[in-house]
Amino acid sequence: MKQQGLDSKADPTGEGVQSLFEYLHAEMVTYVLSKADNDKEEELSRLEWMGYSVGYRIIERLSREWSRFKDELDIIKFICTDFWSTLYHKQIDNLRTNHHGIYMLQDNEFRLLANIGSKGSKQYLRESPRLLAFSCGLLRGSLANLGAVSTVTAEISALPSCIFHIKVQRM
């Protein structure tokens, strides 16, 4: 039957769910912006907070089947490789740290920016940071549940590449 033919080839890799997430994410960004009181400074803390709660929960489910992490760096490496590639198709391209709680995660083609501009396009550079707030929260939440309380900020200099700065608070 025609129906079954469609079904069997429908989405073997789960791409559909991924793009559904992208649509939902776009709607959340629009919603948060519509709720923001003054438009001069974009009020993205709602997005960041939603990301945080998602990150906190998702990592709980992922890390259940994972062996214990040795140290903070080990946690960050897990985030950069397996975690990132599962959520965003690819690994973090570059990780740097000063070994004192500051990490710089560079993704040269971040998925949520990939459709906005390519090859260093600057056209939507000003509007792009709002697409990163959720992911910053996601990172912060994930790290928090792995025991690393941190602040996460993001920086874009040319699309679709971006850098996440993680600053882990030392107790």
């Binding site: 789960g14 939902l24 709660s53 599962t86 000063n98």
Partner: protein
């Protein structure tokens, strides 16, 4: 935005260049499952945020529907590109295509049942629903149509293929029904939206 201090930038000996082969052997993450959970949890966080932002639960339902509508009008392009399917020749065909859509985007196959005699209404029954996977409704949220985004998605997507439909939940597992049932009703064809010269 953080500006890295110059002392930090210069401390070359501390720099740790990341190697790409750090991924551990052993348990790999199941990408499809994780992404589905990401969607579920993200949707949950959104609903929680809306409940915080709006005092009235009806407003939350409306807002979810509106967001779904916006998603639907984009999602239909994605759907058509993935399936290569053409125009629906009747509403039964539409029902099957909607079913396929659920398969593609949520990985579930709802059953199509309860056709009205006129053939303009049917139900989609979900035995499991990824949207509600980790969800329990607290008592003060009984009015909440948790999955209302789906009704918006259907409306938006169908509108883009010149069909006006309405949909609503008649049963909901979150409210202790045994299945979740989404009723879909054909309202009318949107003839005017077809540009001249196209079929």
């Amino acid at each position: 935005m953080i500006v890295l201090s110059s002392t930090w930038r210069d401390s070359k000996r501390h720099l740790f260049k990341f190697s790409q082969e750090m991924s551990r052997a052993g348990s790999r993450l199941d990408s499809k499952k994780v992404n589905s959970e990401l969607f579920t949890l993200t949707y949950g966080a959104l609903v929680a945020q809306l409940l915080k932002d709006y005092e009235n639960i009806d407003d939350v339902n409306k807002q979810l529907e509106r967001m779904g509508y916006n998603m639907g009008i984009r999602l239909i392009e994605d759907f058509l590109a993935r399936t290569g399917s053409g125009r629906c020749y009747d509403f039964r065909d539409t029902a099957e295509k909607i079913q396929t859509g659920f398969k593609i985007f949520l990985g579930i196959t709802p059953t199509i049942t309860n056709w009205s005699t006129a053939g303009d209404e049917f139900s989609l029954c979900f035995e499991s629903n990824p949207l509600t996977e980790f969800v329990e409704l607290p008592d003060h949220c009984l009015n909440l149509k948790y999955c209302n985004i789906l009704t918006g998605v259907l409306r938006g997507a169908c509108e883009m293929v010149q069909m006006e439909v309405a949909s609503w939940f008649v049963q909901d597992q979150l409210k202790n029904d045994s299945v979740t049932e989404l009723r879909v009703k054909f309202i009318k064809r949107l003839e005017d939206a077809i540009p001249a010269g196209e079929d």
